[in-house]
Point group: C2
Chain length 230, copies 2
Amino acid sequence: MNQQQRGVLLGSGLFAGIQPDQIDAMLGCLNARQEHYEKNTLVWNIGDTLHACALVLSGALRAESVNASGEHLLMANHRAGALVGDVLMATPGSKSPVYVVASEDSELLFLPFHRIMSGCDDCCSWHTKLRENLVSEIAMKFWAQRQRTLYLSAKSLRQRIAMRLYDEYCRTGSLTFSLGGTREDLADFLGANRSALSREIGRMKSEGILDYYKDTFRILSLEKLSKDVG
Amino acid sequence: MNQQQRGVLLGSGLFAGIQPDQIDAMLGCLNARQEHYEKNTLVWNIGDTLHACALVLSGALRAESVNASGEHLLMANHRAGALVGDVLMATPGSKSPVYVVASEDSELLFLPFHRIMSGCDDCCSWHTKLRENLVSEIAMKFWAQRQRTLYLSAKSLRQRIAMRLYDEYCRTGSLTFSLGGTREDLADFLGANRSALSREIGRMKSEGILDYYKDTFRILSLEKLSKDVG
DNA sequence: TCCTTTTTGTTGCGCAGGCAACGAAGAGTG
DNA sequence: CACTCTTCGTTGCCTGCGCAACAAAAAGGA
């Protein structure tokens, strides 16, 4: 593990609040294994049962499902610092609903789930902290999903957009921010058609509510935006 | 705690796989407190920080949020056996986005979250199991939310209905089942208008796909239904 | 550089479904 | 029983938005 990957690990939610000098001992105790995956190689498949979750040290992973019509649907993108497979492993007897591939050359750190969850014999001081972090990660993924359902249950596309932008404003505290991903990604996230999304943000721009370029948005009138949020 | 409530506790996901004769010792070790809430009394409010999650021993709880327009939106119904507030407590520094009221006279068992998560000194044999159960509960709530987003991201109401019914068929293994709740509840869950839902299931009935009465549905043609699932 | 691919803006058409309104059939309540 | 409240079915109207199609800008790739 190089210095940059170590930085990613230390900055990840799973290892938040852990002393850097304890990392090596921890990884040993947890029986963590680091592996390299080349671009477009499969990390695990649909129906697989996992024994370890993966922390992305570098590169990125893509999780996709296949529906009954055989279409491949992008479910999630996991960049450096993300923990993948944790929720799945926390669910007893579950098989993966998605397959996961490396969308770039990636370094993955595999952490056996049960080693994290069950206390080791000489209850290491950091073990409890690590467990809490793991549970936090899972809980936060729940909230992300919940937020998504809130967006999707909004009646109009206008409201969905306003909610998403307002949330991002609250999260960053800034009126200008970058959402990441393409316009199509945003449309998918909001459960809408790309052109419909473009049309609507165009309208909002002409109404002086916001301005945008690519994935960067600037809220011009927080008041008007709030009205649309509902 | 009476015998029926004890049965609810033993049947709950949190206490799955725990020996009945260990329960009393556990509850003592966990510092669990049982409390009675009369109908329509507040259990906790929006913005509250929790110190314990609640296991519903009898009665039922209702979680509602208030949007910017002041409307009260039903978020969840928790019946006997449900664990409430667990995901919230697993998220550090979070405040409740909903208020929770007893929708009937209810008995609640409050379990301090940190007592479950951190190992006690003489690492009781059941402690690890309880922790795993807690994490499983949270993970399963994640999957429920995820399933919801899958429903909501379906393009047509027809497809959403088909997905929901097909999932229930897979879950129960029966072509006839009861979904629970009113027609309006189902419409909300599917992110649709009640009359639109009625119209659509009426169409599906006339096409010989299904039959229904109130919240009970019978799949008449699994093949046709599968076509609609996509 | 040229060529291909991806991403974004724009616009017209058509329809799925939201909305409102009404009637009917329970389900409680006094 | 009379009265209220809830739930459900049905239908007409109208609009939000999906969809397809095209153009142009941007981004690689060779």
